[in-house]
Point group: C2
Chain length 345, copies 2
């Protein structure tokens, strides 16, 4: 008799009588470190391996996030952790090989260059490892590269969930739910608000935002001096208004059959002179009901929730859901708009 | 090679090159009639059978909703439809037997008495029919009866999705998504707003609402005369404020492992003297992030969306998702908080 998925939280997927899921995190910058902290109190998941570009650390008994963050901060790599760390080239490949018993990985890697995540996926496919992979990719063009690998992922016995952060991710999934009220979707509009008191603490992020502005590119923004950035911000009173950003929410909602991708827009307002957000991050789904009424559902994130909370929480929620699929032999590629994330305790 | 679920909208689940899903609707009151209208323009689903308590109509080529509503209004039963209608006792049993090729049913039946839906489920289990069933049940105690039938549904080859309307349903699923940002959920608060210009057009609904008020019951509310209802509404300026209603959102979020059911509340405000809603229907999810911040995500429905749109749209979205599960041999019981609904084109 087939067991219902709804029984999985109590049984196959993550049985408290069983062992917690063994989880890996690739990338140990801000996002990877937050992921380690998110996992620390969980009973259903245990962080056993984490890698950066200079090395990795593996401990089947579980990694201590404070210790990892301390050593990474001091030595620049988790490879410097005594006994459990290993400095190496090709650290991702080495980590996968060392930690064969890992159930799933959160790929918390910066996708630089834009083909990097796809190359990591190829390493997983080549390694023979089977399990669940979750990414929090942003750009549509990067996700298209992952989608090209759909059949190879399925053949390798990997269940891959893409776009599982905040946007794409949390907000895309909320849009997929909201769409259900409508016969036709006219627009999905994602708007994020970011407030930072002092832009100089976020030089890389601000340049990444500037790269999205008209007349700028990743290269031109990176080449700007601090004085040039400050001068630009003076002209805008510290506000960066971003429109029509390349975000894979559009591709995901199109793949889910909800609307054509050109009806999905992502933009935001970054205030570089106030810690308070200039607006609350939200997604608005506008459509026509079967009676012919035009209306808009809105999903709004609480201002006190950080980017780290809104990315890492969903990422592990999708990793848990992906594990339930994997244990049923369901492999291949899914997006965050197609699978309901499961709450991780 | 296992096919990925993300390919299902284009292939196994509902392939436009293939045939549309054959759908049935049980119950032909306001909700069943709206369901027929929702389905009319869909390419991926076709309404082929509908039943009321006095008869049913079945046409493999598809039922015309206008014609069905007209005949039902005039004759009181779909059984009066020439050629395709049949008046009968035990009309649900007869409809199931007559329409063996139906892929899935939306159970748009009023659950009166509180054990009625469970008895319908028993009829499906006994019939030998295999497919997808979707309900829009409200009360926790009614859903508990369905959940008791989990193993029998799985053994019968039925994929049953419960609580797939607006609340429970759309709002519960949105709450399950919103919960992902938090390490712990403190409260899920669902509040609905209803505005009606003239309560006398909704005598039964108003009495149902009064039954939820302190000091009232289903029996006492039903026994009230129109003068007594009018007097009550005069005392409240036409406002019915409902708190701590018995809604299965609590059970569904508990089963999904999101929070204990006592942290979930459902209430609403009904203005019986204004068509404008006194407030927008919404769900607020309050929790603590991994950094210790307390915050609230909010999902708000557009005021122009009707109850019918917010119930029937999700119901068929879950029926489509349920079909993908059924075609993979995944049977048993699921709630709307565990499965991502699929948009029906």
């Amino acid at each position: 008799m087939t067991q219902s998925l709804s029984q999985l939280p109590q049984s196959a997927a993550v049985d408290p009588r069983d062992r917690p899921l063994r989880v890996g995190v690739l990338g140990f910058g801000g996002l990877g470190q937050a992921a380690a902290r998110v996992l620390a109190p969980k009973r259903e998941m245990r962080l056993v391996v984490a890698a950066d570009h200079l090395g990795f650390a593996y401990d089947g008994a579980g990694l201590d996030p404070d210790r990892c963050i301390e050593v990474y901060g001091a030595a620049g790599t988790l490879g410097a952790l005594p006994e459990i760390g290993e400095r190496c080239d090709r650290s991702i490949e080495a980590a996968i090989a060392a930690a064969q018993d890992v159930d799933g990985y959160f790929l918390a890697l910066p996708n630089l260059p834009n083909t990097f995540m796809a190359s990591v996926v190829d390493q997983f496919i080549a390694s023979g490892w089977r399990g669940v992979l979750v990414d929090a990719l942003k750009r549509t063009s990067a996700m298209e590269q992952i989608i090209e690998r759909r059949d190879r992922l399925a053949a390798a016995g990997i269940t891959y969930l893409t776009g599982c952060g905040a946007t794409p991710g949390l907000l895309t999934a909320a849009a997929a739910i909201a769409a259900q009220s409508y016969a036709e979707i006219h627009q999905v509009k994602i708007t994020f608000g970011v407030g930072i008191a002092n832009w100089e603490a976020y030089r890389a992020t601000i340049r990444e935002d500037i790269a999205h502005m008209p007349g700028h590119s990743v290269e031109s923004a990176r080449a700007m001096t601090d004085e040039e950035v400050a001068a630009l911000l003076d002209r805008t009173n510290g506000i960066l208004a971003l429109e029509n950003m390349e975000h894979a929410d559009d591709l995901m909602l199109e793949l889910a059959g909800i609307c054509d991708r050109d009806r999905v827009t992502v933009g935001g307002v970054v205030d570089t002179r106030n810690a308070k957000k200039p607006l609350s991050t939200n997604v608005q789904v506008t459509g026509r009901t079967f009676e012919g009424k035009i209306s808009t559902h809105t999903f709004t994130l609480g201002d006190e929730t950080s980017m780290a909370a809104n990315v890492c929480g969903p990422a592990f929620g999708y990793l848990k859901a992906g594990t339930a699929l994997h244990r049923r032999g369901i492999y291949g590629l899914f997006t965050a708009a197609e699978v309901m994330p499961q709450f991780v305790r």
